[in-house]
């Protein structure tokens, strides 16, 4: 690709989501057709922009070209069928399109189109895998090759997921519209899940050279920030953005050069990205300012913020973290939340208090084979000076984990507990 082509592709990437979103409404929710038309517009841009230069309003240019193609396509189809009724229909379609265009010019709000697109690609009728693949394709503008690379799946599989998702959407007749009221809440949950899944996929500690992974974090962050502007009154959107910003601030600090994860309390906090922390705290404030019972993302962001605000691990406001975990345990109870709450309590009130909670958790069937339970227990025991028991727990944790790196780390800690 030469420089001009790269420039054009970059402009195209910026416009992609809005272009597909606008076209999707134009073709009444057919995402496949919308994507094809957008691609056609890119081809047209690559043909004309190198000589004519990039237009002042590239988005409007691309939209116009794509819409013209759509109209031509309808015309061609109708002529082929040579039925008068359909020609009339085509005329009507055209008039409707013209009406659409006027309406669009009137409110000049592409935001709703974009939201419709996001809600469609995260539609509950799609499997989790399909939602993620389709969102990355039609909203974030990743190529199937990039998606395949990010999820370490064959390109064919990625392409199939997207095709299948578009077909399912078309067949289910899911309307390309904004959900309202109670439905909005449910559908929003699905959207936020997809965004956080993409982020987490990028966030898992990986060895160097895996360049697609951190890029996923950036895609998710950007999508989250876009959603926060489109739905400024949804506290959980701000909560998720805050959580992602603050977690992303630790990306440079949370692994050794060979990819070994560094625990939160051993990370060099000066390496945390202050810009992202600042953004995260602002997003948290926006979410909290909306009032109401905070949801799981906002609460988790609140905990992340406590860590982000502490200059050293000793400065951590553990009482506040315990209080937030109490809220989290009330709204979204889970053994994992309890385990984390126990850790927070161990720092706020001492290891014995933490141990009492974990001892109860250890008997839950769901956590029987979960390696973090003995690992956390070991930490409390060793802080209480019960080294032999701590060592045994670390060895048990090592035997339970499936992750090689983690096992090595646990065994190392067990060995260090010997003396």
């Amino acid at each position: 690709m030469n420089e001009t082509q790269r420039r054009i592709e970059a402009v195209f990437r910026i416009e992609w989501a809005r272009l597909v979103a606008g076209l999707a409404r134009f073709v009444r929710g057919d995402l496949g057709a919308a994507e094809e038309l957008a691609q056609d517009a890119l081809v047209a841009a690559l043909e004309t922009w190198p000589s004519d230069g990039i237009p002042r309003e590239p988005g409007a240019w691309l939209m116009q070209v794509a819409k013209n193609r759509a109209l031509k396509r309808i015309d061609r189809q109708k002529r082929w069928e040579k039925k008068e009724t359909e020609i009339t229909q085509a005329m009507e379609d055209r008039q409707e399109c013209a009406a659409d265009a006027i309406e669009e010019a009137a409110d000049d709000d592409v935001g709703d189109d974009l939201l419709r697109l996001v809600f469609a690609s995260c539609h509950p009728s799609l499997s989790a895998d399909s939602r993620v693949a389709l969102t990355l394709r039609v909203v974030c503008g990743l190529t199937t090759e990039e998606i395949a690379c990010a999820f370490v799946i064959p390109e064919k599989t990625a392409a199939q997921r997207i095709v299948r998702a578009k077909r399912t959407l078309a067949e289910s007749g899911a309307a390309f519209e904004l959900p309202r009221g109670k439905e909005l809440r449910e559908r929003l949950t699905s959207v936020l899940e997809v965004v956080y899944f993409v982020f987490s996929e990028g966030y898992v500690a990986t060895a160097g050279g895996d360049w697609m992974k951190p890029a996923l974090c950036e895609d998710a962050l950007r999508l989250g920030r876009i959603l926060a502007e489109l739905m400024p009154n949804e506290a959980e959107v701000h909560g998720l953005v805050a959580l992602m910003e603050i977690q992303a601030s630790r990306i440079g600090a949370r692994t050794l050069p060979d990819g070994t994860p560094i625990p939160l309390f051993e990370q060099s906090r000066a390496r945390w990205d202050r810009f992202l922390i600042e953004r995260g705290l602002v997003a948290l404030k926006r979410g909290e300012a909306l009032g109401g019972t905070p949801g799981a993302y906002l609460l988790q962001a609140g905990i992340a913020a406590c860590h982000a605000r502490a200059r050293t691990p000793e400065d951590t406001d553990w009482r506040r973290i315990v209080a937030i975990y109490d809220q989290l345990a009330a709204t979204t109870p889970s053994p994992i939340v309890e385990l984390n709450r126990a850790v927070a309590i161990s720092f706020a009130e001492g290891p014995a208090a933490g141990l009492a909670i974990v001892d109860e958790l250890a008997n839950l069937p769901a956590l029987e084979r979960y390696h973090l339970v003995p690992a956390v227990r070991a930490d409390f025991l060793s802080r209480l000076g019960r080294r032999d028991e701590a060592r045994a727990e670390l060895e048990r944790a090592a035997s339970l984990t499936k992750n090689d790196r983690e096992r090595a780390l646990l065994l190392k800690r067990a060995a260090a507990t010997q003396n």
Binding site: R6, R7, E9, A10, V11, R13, I14, I54, G111, G208, A215, E218, L221, R222, L223, G224, R225, I226, E229, L230, G252, A253, L256, P257, S268, R269, A270, R271, R274, F275, L276, E278, R279, R309, R311
Partner: protein
Amino acid sequence: MKFMILGHANKDTEAGVIPSSEEFEKMGKFMEELVKAGVFVAGEGLQPSSKGARITFGKGGKTSIKNGPFTESKELIAGFSIIQVKSLDEAIAWMSRAPSPEGSTLEIRQLFSDDDFASADPTGELREQDAKLREQADKQHGKS
């Protein structure tokens, strides 16, 4: 990846001329577009160099101070923004839309990230050292 956009100074910025409300509005709209696209990270405008100073470091730590204004306005910075995008091309594509006056220049520079030092510092030792220094600096400046 993050990029810093440096807006170069001109006669107006150096004279401390406040942009007209129309210019403000255009710039505000552009910034809003960056924010809505999830690209904008931070940004500030700088006062004229007449309100600043330069320190030159000589032998043995000897410093000489020169108060502003500085004459070579082309080398002066009038403001900066930080954006987070996927490539230099994307940064260029975004900033080409800035409502900057005719004859003005925007400079686009990529910020270093930890990964950029990986090859020069395979053990992470140097980065560790750097991080400690920053930590100290932050403490001194009483950052939260």
